[in-house]
Amino acid sequence: MKIIFKIVAYYPEENRIEVKFCDEKSNVPIDNYCEYSIDCDNLEMSSSDFFLDSLVRKYGLRIVESQINERPTNLYNASKSISSDELNLEDLVGKVIEGKYFSRPRYPIKMRRIEL
């Protein structure tokens, strides 16, 4: 996902910008999204790279994730989550399953419950 933004106003005397964010593939023009007032003291202003990184990391990611979560889910995309240890591909055929992954590498352990 590529996060895009548009600075719609800059107030040097307040060191503040007003910014709109969205994901590049959004069907809605960025101008239709609401703007957020951001204090530049909270951003890294020493170079363009640091500015982009701090703006997106501190604000853009959270705002765009929230925009995406607000979109309705197509009825055909309503998913189920699976948690059973047993993988049975035949049971999964034809079903819409929620994909999960570990953002910080953390892999599953195989444990076996027994009776003593």
């Binding site: 910080r104 590498p105 953390r106 892999y107 599953p108 352990i109 195989k110 444990m111 076996r112 419950r113 027994i114 009776e115 003593l116």
Partner: protein
């Protein structure tokens, strides 16, 4: 430098596992810090809250089962001093406490306890356990031949 984490949510608790080289530095955020006990299969390291001089030693010889409740819901830093393999026993429900201990001989269980085999092939009630076998206990006698095994018993308070 290698460092790998594993995780498994079980019924009332979760188990994490860390495997890595010597001289790894691993920071854990307060949101993730739910480890009550650390079990060391091999290797060694130290764990502490950031910027504090106090730390706890984890090693497979004298400190292979360490109570880490004082670091619960705090930021922590781990530094390995040898290649290591460790497990963490974690509470699933915040603020629910557990007692834990290593088992080396026969004992009487109860229905609030779980037994976990962390290493080796111990025998319990005639059954050979394998690494990461676990069982809910009952109010009865459990005959243990520990052999080369590393078994923990954890009781929900």
């Amino acid at each position: 430098m290698k460092y790998t984490r594993f995780f498994k949510k079980c019924e009332d608790f979760s188990i994490c596992s860390e495997l890595g080289d010597s001289d790894c530095i691993v920071a854990e955020h307060t949101n993730e810090r739910r480890t009550l006990y650390q079990i060391v299969v091999y290797g060694s390291g130290k764990v502490a809250r950031p910027f504090e001089s106090e730390f706890k030693v984890l090693d497979s010889s004298d400190n292979n089962f360490v109570d880490l409740k004082e670091y619960l819901y705090d930021h922590t830093i781990f530094h390995s001093t040898e290649p290591f393999h460790m497990y963490g026993f974690n509470t699933s429900e915040k603020y629910v406490d557990w007692d834990g201990r290593l088992v080396t001989e026969s004992f009487t269980g109860d229905d609030k306890s779980w037994l976990i085999c962390f290493d080796g092939s111990p025998v319990v009630n005639g059954k050979v356990l394998h690494k990461l076998d676990y069982a809910k206990l009952e109010q009865k006698l459990y005959n243990v031949e520990i052999n080369d095994g590393l078994i923990g018993v954890f009781t929900k308070k």
